[in-house]
C-alpha cells in the first residue's frame, strides 16, 4: 500500500535539500476524480501531492518538456528533475535514457507501485456513466472502485473500468527507480498480456477496416496523442510539420527538405497515414502508458495500434520497450533467425 504521506515527505525532502529543481507529481484538480499533473518547486507544496487510481498521466513527458525548455533557455537549470512514476512511466524513462535523450543523473525517479488498483480508463468510466463526471474515486482494496457522482456513491468492479493496459500489466512496479513506494506487484489476475489486441485481431479484415476507417474518419488531427507522448519528442514530426522549429542552425536546404507526407486536412486517408506512421515510429519504443488513447477527444483506441506492434516485437523478437536501458533499439538491431517466411 502506497503511503502518500511518505511520498510527500520524500518529495519535500528532495526540494528542501535542493537535490532537485522540482518534483513533477499529481494533485487534485478541476478534472473531478482524475488527478492533474503539477510541478512542485516549493517543499511546502509537496503536501498537495496525491496518489490514487485517478493518477493517469505519464509524467515522463515532463522530463521531455524540461529538456526542451533547458535546451532553449539561455540560463538552463542543470539540477535534476524528479518525477512520480508508475511501472509503465518508469519504462518510458528507461527508453528515453536508452535513446540518450537525457542522462540518468538528470532525473530522480520516485517510483510508485500501482499494486492491485492500476488506474481507471476514463473512457470506460464515461461509457458506464454516459458522460457524467466522477467527483471521487478510490480502489476498495478488493476488486472494485468506489465512485462518487454528485451525492451518490457506488462500487464498480475493477475489471469493468480499469484501463486495459493495467488489466494486462505484468510489471506494475517501476523497475527503474531511485525510491519505490508501495508493494512490488508484478501482475494482476485480470487479463492476459495483449488480450485487447488479440481480441481485436480476431475480427475479419473487412471488420477490422470498418472499425479503423470509422476511427480514422473521426480523427480531428489535433495531435493531442503526439503532444502527450513522451516518445514523440522529435523536433519536427515526420508526418506533419506543425512542430517544425527553425533554429539558427537550420539551413535553407533543411527548410526546403520538409516532405509533405501528409496533408493538414483530416480525413481517413491522411489520418491513417499519420496514425500508422506514428505507430511504426513507436515500435519498440511504446511502453503502453495509454496516454495517447486517454487524451484523444474522440476516443480513438490508439493504444491498440502500438500494442499490436509491441506484441509482435515481444513474440517475434523477444523485445520489450524499456526493459533494459543498454539494449539496442528494436529497429536498429536484428537476429538472423528473425521471421523470414513472409518474404517471397
Amino acid at each position: 500500500m502506497v503511503k502518500v504521506e511518505e511520498l510527500r515527505a520524500y518529495a519535500a525532502d528532495l526540494l528542501e535539500q535542493g537535490k532537485v529543481k522540482a518534483v513533477v507529481g499529481y494533485r487534485r484538480g478541476t478534472a473531478g476524480a482524475m488527478a492533474e499533473p503539477c510541478v512542485v518547486s516549493q517543499a511546502a507544496d509537496a503536501q498537495s501531492l496525491v496518489w490514487d487510481p485517478g493518477c493517469l498521466n505519464n509524467l515522463a513527458l515532463y522530463l521531455v518538456k524540461d529538456r526542451k525548455a533547458q535546451a532553449a533557455s539561455k540560463t538552463p537549470d542543470k539540477r535534476p528533475l524528479a518525477v512520480v512514476a508508475k511501472g509503465c512511466d518508469s519504462r518510458a524513462v528507461a527508453v528515453l535514457l536508452q535513446e540518450n535523450y537525457f542522462k540518468r543523473e538528470d532525473v530522480v525517479v520516485i517510483g510508485v507501485s500501482c499494486e492491485g488498483s492500476g488506474v481507471v480508463d476514463p473512457r470506460k468510466l464515461s461509457a458506464k456513466l454516459k458522460g457524467r463526471t466522477v467527483s471521487k474515486l478510490e480502489f476498495d482494496g478488493a476488486d472494485g472502485y468506489k465512485v462518487t457522482i454528485g451525492k451518490t456513491e457506488s462500487v464498480i468492479p475493477a475489471a469493468d473500468i480499469m484501463a486495459d493496459r493495467c488489466l494486462e500489466c505484468r510489471a506494475a512496479s517501476p523497475a527503474l527507480n531511485d525510491v519505490l513506494f508501495g508493494d512490488t506487484v508484478e501482475q494482476r489476475a485480470y487479463a492476459a498480456p495483449f488480450a485487447a489486441v488479440k481480441e481485436a485481431q480476431e475480427a475479419s479484415e473487412e471488420e477490422r477496416w470498418a472499425t479503423w476507417e470509422h476511427h480514422f474518419d473521426r480523427c480531428l488531427r489535433c495531435f493531442a496523442c503526439r503532444s502527450v507522448c513522451p516518445m514523440c519528442y522529435c523536433p519536427e514530426c515526420v508526418v506533419d510539420s506543425t512542430t517544425f522549429v527553425i533554429t539558427p542552425e537550420t539551413s535553407a536546404e533543411e527548410k526546403a527538405n520538409r516532405v509533405r507526407w501528409c496533408e493538414r486536412s483530416a480525413g481517413s486517408g491522411e489520418s491513417a497515414m499519420y496514425h500508422l506512421t506514428r505507430a511504426i515510429h513507436l515500435a519498440g519504443r511504446c511502453v503502453d502508458c495509454g496516454e495517447c488513447e486517454r487524451v484523444c477527444p474522440v476516443n480513438i483506441p490508439l493504444r491498440l495500434l502500438n500494442t499490436k506492434l509491441e506484441m509482435e516485437a515481444f513474440e517475434m523478437f523477444e523485445y520489450q520497450a524499456g526493459r533494459d536501458v543498454a539494449q539496442s533499439s528494436l529497429l536498429s538491431s536484428f537476429r538472423d533467425e528473425d521471421p523470414n517466411a513472409f518474404v517471397r
Partner: protein
C-alpha cells in the same frame, strides 16, 4: 411562439422536418457528440455537454475554397466550390455552446462576409435545450454572462419539464421549423409558464465554478502579468491545442494548397482548423 411538446411526440416533430438535415446528440465511442438523426427519428436528450462544439456546422474542419489546375506554361483555371448544403437543424444544443455562434458570426462577417461560412450558417437552425442541472463540476456559464437557459444564438429553446418539453421559438428560422411540425405540439396550458420559470430558476440556483466579477479580471491579469502562477500552470500544459479545436468560439484557421498532381499542376486550396498556439501558426 411557445408550445408544449409531449416527449412521445418528439419523433413526430422530427418526422415533419424531412426537408432538413437533422442532427442530435448521440453517445458513441463513450463520448457525446452531434450525429445525423437516424431514419427512426429517435433522439436522446439526456446528454451532457458534447465534446465537439456546434461551430463546425458552419465552420467545418476542412473547407475547400476552390480547385485549381494549370497546364504547363498555361493560365491556371480555378473552380470555386461554395457549399450548397441542405438546410440543417441541430437539436439539443446546450445554451453555452449556442452562445458561441454569434461570436463566430462576427468573425466571419467583420471585414467581409465569408461566403463559405454563411452558405452553411444561413441554413442552420439551432434548437437549444436548457440545462436543468450543470453537467460538469466545471460549468461556469453564469460567470461569463450566460445562463443554463440562455437563448442567445439559438433559434429555439426547449426546456425539459419531465414528461414534456416547453418549446419556445426565438427566431424566424426557429418558428419556421415549429410550424412544420405544428401537429406534434400542444398549446401551452396555464401554469406551464410558471413551471418553466421555476425550472430555470432552480437550475440557476445550483452553484457553479465561478470567476466572480468578470470586470475585475482584465485588471487582475495586468497586475499579475509576471506572477509565478502562470509559469506553474504553463508547466503542466502539454500544448496540444485540443482546447482550441473543441472551443465553440476558437476560429483560427490555416489555408493550404493541397497539390494532388504535380504535372500538370492540380489541387485544392483548403481552409483547415488551426491553433494560434501552434509553433508554425
Amino acid at each position: 411562439m411557445e408550445k408544449i411538446l409531449r416527449k412521445e411526440n418528439l419523433g413526430e416533430w422530427l418526422a415533419a422536418l424531412e426537408a432538413y438535415d437533422l442532427h442530435a446528440p448521440a453517445f458513441a465511442d463513450s463520448v457525446w457528440n452531434y450525429a445525423r438523426v437516424g431514419s427512426n427519428n429517435a433522439i436522446e436528450l439526456d446528454h451532457t455537454n458534447t465534446v465537439r462544439s456546434i461551430k463546425e456546422f458552419a465552420f467545418p474542419q476542412r473547407e475547400i475554397f476552390f480547385r485549381f489546375e494549370q497546364e504547363k506554361d498555361g493560365k491556371p483555371t480555378l473552380t470555386a466550390t461554395v457549399p450548397d448544403p441542405r438546410p440543417t437543424v441541430v437539436f439539443g444544443v446546450r445554451p453555452c455552446d449556442g452562445r458561441g455562434m454569434p461570436r463566430n458570426d462576427k468573425v466571419f462577417t467583420a471585414e467581409f462576409k465569408d461566403p463559405y461560412y454563411w452558405a452553411r450558417r444561413d441554413r442552420l437552425t439551432l434548437v437549444g435545450l436548457a440545462c436543468n442541472e450543470p453537467h460538469s463540476q466545471n460549468c461556469f456559464c453564469k460567470s461569463v454572462g450566460g445562463a443554463p437557459n440562455s437563448e442567445e444564438g439559438l433559434d429555439v429553446l426547449m426546456t425539459d419539464l419531465g414528461d414534456r418539453f416547453h418549446v419556445k421559438g426565438l427566431t424566424g428560422r426557429g418558428v419556421e421549423i415549429m410550424e412544420h411540425g405544428r401537429d406534434a405540439f400542444d398549446e401551452s396550458r396555464k401554469g406551464d409558464k410558471a413551471e418553466v420559470e421555476k425550472t430555470h430558476a432552480a437550475a440557476s440556483e445550483v452553484p457553479q465554478r465561478g470567476f466572480g466579477d468578470l470586470s475585475k479580471i482584465p485588471d487582475a491579469i495586468r497586475k499579475n502579468f509576471d506572477a509565478p502562477v502562470w509559469q506553474e500552470l504553463a508547466q503542466a500544459c502539454i500544448g496540444c491545442g485540443i482546447c482550441t479545436f473543441l472551443c465553440p468560439t476558437c476560429h483560427c484557421f490555416d489555408i493550404n494548397d493541397e497539390v494532388t498532381c504535380q504535372s500538370p499542376c492540380a489541387g485544392e486550396r483548403v481552409r483547415t482548423w488551426d491553433n494560434c498556439q501552434f509553433p508554425d501558426f
